[in-house]
């Protein structure tokens, strides 16, 4: 089976399994509605915190509220997409511990697709909705001379950002093959990462910004391309084309995460549980 064949098989299995989880969730309809609303409310509180902060100050690290809202909307929406599509991968550790991971290995479908679709939860649409609302407001409120490149960059950022976060989720899942209770470590990078990106890079220390740019390239989710759109200087002295690098960075992350996943799965299958 070639790579495209695997991708097609994986997508098909993913959709089949995700549909089963949606149906499972819908058997507890009230619970679904409550958690979906709760999800929306909790993530919404994040933004309320920002707004309250701006009641006291005019700028944060030199950025105005609509500009910070722009970063926030990009970070939360792209993270929300990744969380919806592959966020359940952090339950892999539990499946490894109770041994039910083996039941996935005897099905005729790529394992990563099955793990990604595991416990697929539509309630995660709450976060995406909230992020998209903030982003929409920010796009109207910021003062930007829109060019074709800037307009195009917004959806590109969302997709690339989702792919970068997705790669982090995948790498985190792969790490759980080695340390089965490491879901919290992964959360530090995923949930921690998205919270970090909700604030302008200027409020953080240089070393942290360097790490988030060159080591774990979360800066390419919104900081770098966002700075370009807003006409602000890049967080580090990066070349001008860096704003258009997100798709490349995302592709690199996805490739590395894929390798990590394969290595993790190989380790599991040769050492057992």
């Amino acid at each position: 089976m070639g790579e495209t064949g695997r991708l097609r098989e994986g997508t098909r299995a993913y959709l089949l399994i995700a549909a089963m989880w949606i149906r499972s969730t819908m058997t507890y309809r009230t619970s679904f509605v409550l958690t979906a609303v709760g999800n929306l409310a909790v993530t919404g509180l994040d933004f309320v915190t920002l707004v309250l902060m701006f009641a006291q100050v005019d700028t944060l690290g030199g950025w105005t509220l609509p500009e910070v809202a722009f970063l926030y909307g990009l970070s939360v929406t792209s993270f929300g997409l990744a969380d919806l599509l592959i966020g359940s991968a952090d339950t892999l550790g539990a499946r490894l511990r109770d041994g039910s991971f083996d039941t996935l290995l005897v099905r005729p479908a790529p394992v990563l697709a099955q793990v990604a679709a595991d416990r697929f939860a539509l309630r995660r649409l709450g976060r995406i909705t909230q992020g998209a609302l903030v982003l929409g407001w920010a796009l109207c409120a910021v003062h930007v001379e829109w060019t074709a490149a800037k307009v195009l960059l917004v959806p590109v950022m969302l997709v690339s950002g989702a792919a970068i976060f997705g790669a982090v989720f995948t790498a985190g899942a792969a790490f759980q093959f080695l340390a089965q209770d490491a879901a919290e470590v992964q959360n530090a990078f995923t949930y921690g990462g998205t919270t970090l990106l909700q604030y302008p890079p200027t409020v953080f220390g240089k070393d942290l910004v360097r790490g988030v740019t060159f080591v774990l390239p979360l800066a390419f989710v919104n900081w770098v391309p966002g700075a370009y759109v807003l006409g602000r200087p890049y967080p580090l002295s990066l070349p001008g084309w860096a704003a258009f690098a997100p798709p490349l960075v995302a592709a690199g992350c996805v490739a590395l995460a894929g390798l990590a996943w394969r290595a993790g799965l190989r380790a599991y299958r040769s050492t057992g549980s």
């Binding site: 089976m1 089963m20 499972s24 083996d102 099905r107 005729p108 040769s270 050492t271 057992g272």
Partner: protein, 336 residues
């Protein structure tokens, strides 16, 4: 194929229709044990050691051994879940570890202690998923499903959420789920664990039919020796990763030098009866006495002689308990 193997006299060469081939397969685990806050000790554990056997198409084989003997490691290698550390392994001509998903279409697996069914959804939904995931042609799916529903008596359960099924009902549901794609080989891991007598009987009856009608190859691991007695003509015993016995169930008694028991009810309390060796009295309790004699020997002459010499009220012969036979085999191996 450059794979030649080394020995020409291995079992794999002599069996014509070997469906499962295991040739000097081994599995070594690296076990890390925490010995201090950060210090760890590494140790290698040989879970399966130079294991060789073949199973012909349509055979139903019992695979038994104590916990940690290497049973599930073997099954995991045969299903492609684990990669062997050495040796050669083929199921239906496929190397399981290399072509896991291709093999998945040809094997069915029932994990006795965990269900693969969808907990919150009606039973039928799990089957619909299998229908699409295994790409079973519609007509064939309906035909197989109808047959399984009939044989496993699932008709009334199809619309019931799995969480509401009893353990026995769920096991039947799980077995059906493993067979929808009409696999050529079925691995059953403790299929009757926790089931009541009626459910056990039903599952066993179904498995017998499966072997006789469809010729499905079945490898069964179990702790319930009645499963083996009632289903398998062949039994493999594994301990410490090595095959200790492979043959008919009857032969297991001889291999373990097992004994049958003759229980005598006498008219009154008497001193231990004078039995001809190798038969001997092992227990006396009031007028009841227990005699042990080799399982390979006939009981008739012994009974005739005792009946002639003693005032018998009743007697019964107890077959050896396989569990005891296997335990004795382990003891012998350990002391050897």
């Amino acid at each position: 194929m450059t794979e030649t193997g080394t020995g020409s006299g291995t079992v794999t060469d002599t069996v014509a229709d070997a469906f499962i081939e295991v040739d000097r397969v081994e599995k070594v685990f690296d076990v890390r044990r925490r010995t201090g806050f950060l210090k760890r000790e590494r140790r290698q554990v040989r879970a399966v050691d130079a294991l060789s056997f073949t199973v012909a198409r349509g055979e139903m084989v019992g695979y038994i051994g104590p916990n940690g003997a290497g049973k599930s490691t073997t099954i995991k290698m045969l299903t492609g879940i684990l990669t062997p550390s050495g040796g050669r392994l083929r199921v239906a001509g496929i190397d399981p570890a290399r072509e896991r998903t291709r093999l998945a279409h040809r094997i069915g697996v029932v994990f006795g202690q965990r269900t693969t069914l969808w907990w919150d959804l009606p039973l039928i939904d799990s089957y619909r998923l299998a229908h699409r995931m295994y790409r079973i042609p519609d007509a064939r799916y309906r035909e197989i499903l109808d047959r399984l529903v009939e044989l496993l008596d699932l008709g009334a359960l199809l619309d019931v959420p799995v969480r509401q099924l009893s353990l026995g009902q769920r096991m039947r549901g799980d077995i059906a789920a493993a067979l929808l794609h009409d696999p050529e080989v079925l691995y059953l891991d403790e299929p009757t664990i926790g089931l009541d007598v009626v459910s056990k009987a039903r599952v066993r009856e179904f498995l017998r039919g499966l072997r006789d009608e469809r010729g499905t190859t079945v490898l069964l691991t179990t702790h319930d020796l009645q499963d083996i007695e009632q289903l398998c003509s062949r039994v493999m015993v594994i301990d410490h990763g090595r095959l200790m016995y492979d043959g008919p169930l009857a032969g297991l008694h001889e291999a373990g030098e097992s004994e049958r028991t003759l229980v005598l009810d006498l008219e009154r309390e008497l001193p231990p009866v004078d039995a001809p060796p190798p038969a001997r009295v092992v227990r006396v309790e009031g007028p009841r006495q227990w005699l042990a004699f080799p399982a390979s020997a006939s009981a008739a002459p012994l009974v005739a002689r005792l009946a002639a010499e003693y005032p018998l009220v009743d007697l019964s012969v107890r077959e050896p308990d396989i569990e005891a036979v296997i335990a004795r085999m382990y003891e012998e191996r350990a002391s050897a």
